[in-house]
């Protein structure tokens, strides 16, 4: 804390640090559950991963174990008007995952089977059947996995929608203030930033790829991997596809929005890190990504690429989420590192809020204890 700098103090029941879709959902439900809630972000609401992601609500790319959560999350996105008060242009569409080589076909079948076992209604189609659903496909495909439950959200609207819902719910929104430290404070926590101090009985860490740093504030060592995902968008073009299209390996995700632009993703990597953010696209990776896209939907060759950007996605050591109470601490929680985390965020956030509000969550959480590397150092007691 800078000595002599006047800092305003806010007293609340719970402070949520990080206003991505995870933190914002938790904060929203806690406030609606009657808690005085503060939500702090060093930037603006949902302007990191949660505002720049591909917005695909696909089960084809979701880790099998997370399918039940993703299906719930997808439903919530398609009904945001009801619980968030604003349409984020979420649309249901069929999803296809393609195979162009025998090896891809094997992978496709194995993956479809694993996901089906977890409740995803996926079935394998012949090329002709696939082309009937999506006439824009490259007819040289060998097989396709089909899932009726797919779709997309316009991710850049997320922040706008959440912001007004949070405001209406009475959440104290503190934007553009990086939290610098969290101290234990008798019964509770003191969350410190340059302008303000939030005193809270409970704290929720929801910092995406920055969770490693945040957990260290509380003396916990949990490595968090940072992926630098590239996305590519084209200019508006005539309708060339109506489904969400991917390939067996998960290296492609394609959809056309109502405005005619086509979004091309698939987890191709750019340059960056949690400190500098997503710095630059790698030209080879752009070219590889669009070659794959054009192979799947040949008509994409007609259009032009207008923008390539990067977003930061987090992953734990076992690539499974961490959601739940932090070990050795009283009323401190974490939420993040969820694969296809945008899809499931509205649901995951509600589960954690239920747990904090003392209700039994509908599905199991993901205990972070398994990921803590060294024994937590006792956090110094401060008064």
């Amino acid at each position: 804390m800078t000595p002599g700098l006047a800092q305003e103090t806010v007293d609340v029941d719970v402070a949520v640090v990080g206003a991505g879709a995870m933190g914002a959902t938790v904060a929203l439900h806690l406030a609606r559950g009657g808690m005085r809630t503060a939500l702090v972000d060093r930037g603006e609401i949902c302007r990191e991963a949660s505002g720049v992601n591909a917005g695909t609500l696909t089960l084809h790319m979701t880790r099998a174990a997370l399918i039940p959560y993703a299906m719930k999350g997808r439903e919530l996105w398609l009904t945001t008007e009801r619980w968030l008060g604003m349409d984020v242009v979420a649309r249901s569409a069929p999803g296809l995952s393609l195979a162009f080589t025998p090896a891809e076909r094997d992978m496709l079948e194995k993956r479809a089977e694993a996901r089906t076992a977890m409740g995803a209604p996926i079935r394998i189609l012949t090329p002709a059947e696939a082309c009937r659903i999506e006439p824009g496909l490259n007819a040289s495909l060998l097989a396709a996995a089909f899932c009726e439950l797919d779709g997309h959200v316009t991710a850049y609207l997320t922040g706008r929608a959440y912001r007004q819902a949070l405001r209406a719910a009475g959440v104290a929104i503190i934007e553009r203030m990086a939290v610098e430290q969290i101290d234990r404070l008798g019964q509770g926590y003191r969350v410190r930033g340059a302008r303000q101090v939030v005193r809270a009985r409970r704290v929720v860490l929801a910092g995406g790829v920055w969770l490693e740093t945040m957990l260290a504030w509380l003396g916990l060592r949990v490595p968090v991997k940072c992926l630098i995902n590239q996305l590519v968008v084209t200019e508006r073009m005539r309708p060339v596809m109506r489904s969400v299209v991917g390939i067996a390996s998960g290296l492609l995700s394609l959809k056309q929005f109502e405005n005619g632009t086509v979004l091309i993703g698939g987890g191709w990597q750019g340059l960056g890190d949690p400190v500098r953010g997503g710095v630059q696209a790698v030209p080879e990776n752009l070219i590889g990504n669009i070659q794959l896209a054009r192979h799947a939907i040949p008509a994409l060759g007609e259009t032009r690429v207008v923008r390539i950007w990067l977003g930061l996605e987090s992953e734990t050591a076992d690539a499974m989420p961490m959601i739940g109470a932090l070990p050795g601490l009283d009323e401190a929680y974490v939420i993040g590192c969820v694969h296809s985390g945008y899809t499931s965020a509205p649901y995951m956030g509600r589960l954690l809020a239920d747990r904090i509000l003392g209700r039994e969550p509908e599905m199991p959480l993901f205990d972070p204890t398994r990921l803590v590397q060294a024994a937590p150092n006792a956090v110094e007691e401060m008064t």
């Binding site: 790319m61 067996a248 390996s249 030209p283 060759g301 007609e302 690429v305 207008v306």
Partner: protein, 474 residues
Amino acid sequence: MSRETDVVVVGGGPAGVEAALAAAAQGLRVTVLDEAPQAGGQVYRAPPHAFGGTIQRDADPIGVALRQRLAASSVVTCFEHAVWSVSPGFRVDALAPDGPASWTARAVVVATGAQERVVPFPGWTRPGVIGLAGTTIMLKSQGMLPGERTLVAGQGPLLLAVAVGILKAGGQVAGVVDLASPADWAREWRALASRPRLTARGAGWRARLLRAGVPFLYRHAVQAVEEVPGGLRVLLTRVDRHGAPTKKVAREYLVDALAVGNGLTASTDITRLLRAAHHYDALRGGWVPTLDAEFRSSLPGLYVAGDAAGLAGADAAVADGILTGLTVARDLGAMTDTAYRGAIGSLRRRARRARSFGTAMARLMAIRPAHVAAIPAETIVCRCEDVTRAEIDAARSEGAQTANQVKAWTRCGMGPCQGRICGDIVGALLAAGEAPREPVGYFTGRTPLRPLPLNLLAGDVEYTSLKLPPPAPL
């Protein structure tokens, strides 16, 4: 495969060409990339190649000399190469008519010049309304007129250049509508006096327009443009010295084209992309890269010369370009310190003089906050995505505070031009008036710097020979 060189210069205008020549003269391998078909940049843009050859009638002799010196040098030139990415390290990617090409270089000089700014008014996106700078391109490189009878409006020295250009090309100028007053022009007299050649040219242009009976309306601005049978109806209002219009329509013109522009903004695509430091300087065309006295950006190996560093005009671009080329040569070890100091002495003085003239012109082009504040609610601000001022205001009142946030909430700046046209106006609307621009920020720079035809970029490739990363986890 990337071609390897010492220096890549992006932009073959006066700044880029001079930087390239100066660095190459010290023995460095230099490549100039420009999307235009020939060197010269905006001001010395070459007329189209004459039939079967390179005879250039009507071209500005300065531009002709520039192209000749370049051709006689060791500088490698690649025209019709649009640079779409510069990555740290450095790798420069361009798209040529026959596909992608790339270079690796030890240093990059950004000499990408400036781009047009228009303060929006109802009807500014209609056919027949064209930018002042765009009109100069039309006149110079295509020898085309915007219309038979054109009204020329806006601010800054391009007003005269465009009006005279139209007369010379055989067109009719209905009037010159200037946001500035004669007193605003007179205030710059000291700077003008330092460049007698240019000032005399300006006076000559004015005289020629007056002889042709072209009316000059000072302290006026376009209020709206309407399409009417047979052309455009342009409504003008008076403005005060802050650029605030009166509500009344002062005059109407019936024309078939309106050339209108409110100055230029520095073209900072590459420096923003590379996350170099920038600051806002209203008098030099908005956000500009922060440079040291020798044209180094905050990123080692990245230099900026000419209007891309802040508007200073063509003469300053020449002097600053040479200085930048010499700095690069010294930093890359191609020139001793003593030789460098010997070379720059008189250049520095020349550059200062040129810059003072350019800055005076840039002041006349500077945006006037009250002019922006008066943009009517239903006016389109982002022409690529049809975002109106009312939508921007609504986002602002809902809590959006930064340019990037407004972009996400409204799609403003998301279209093919990527906010190049509207960026400065959106910033001004968000900052509201004289407030500092720093908290509002600017649209993040991203690749591609130009829209990339997907087929051209992807090339012809077999599926089985695609280089794919390992599959995502199940």
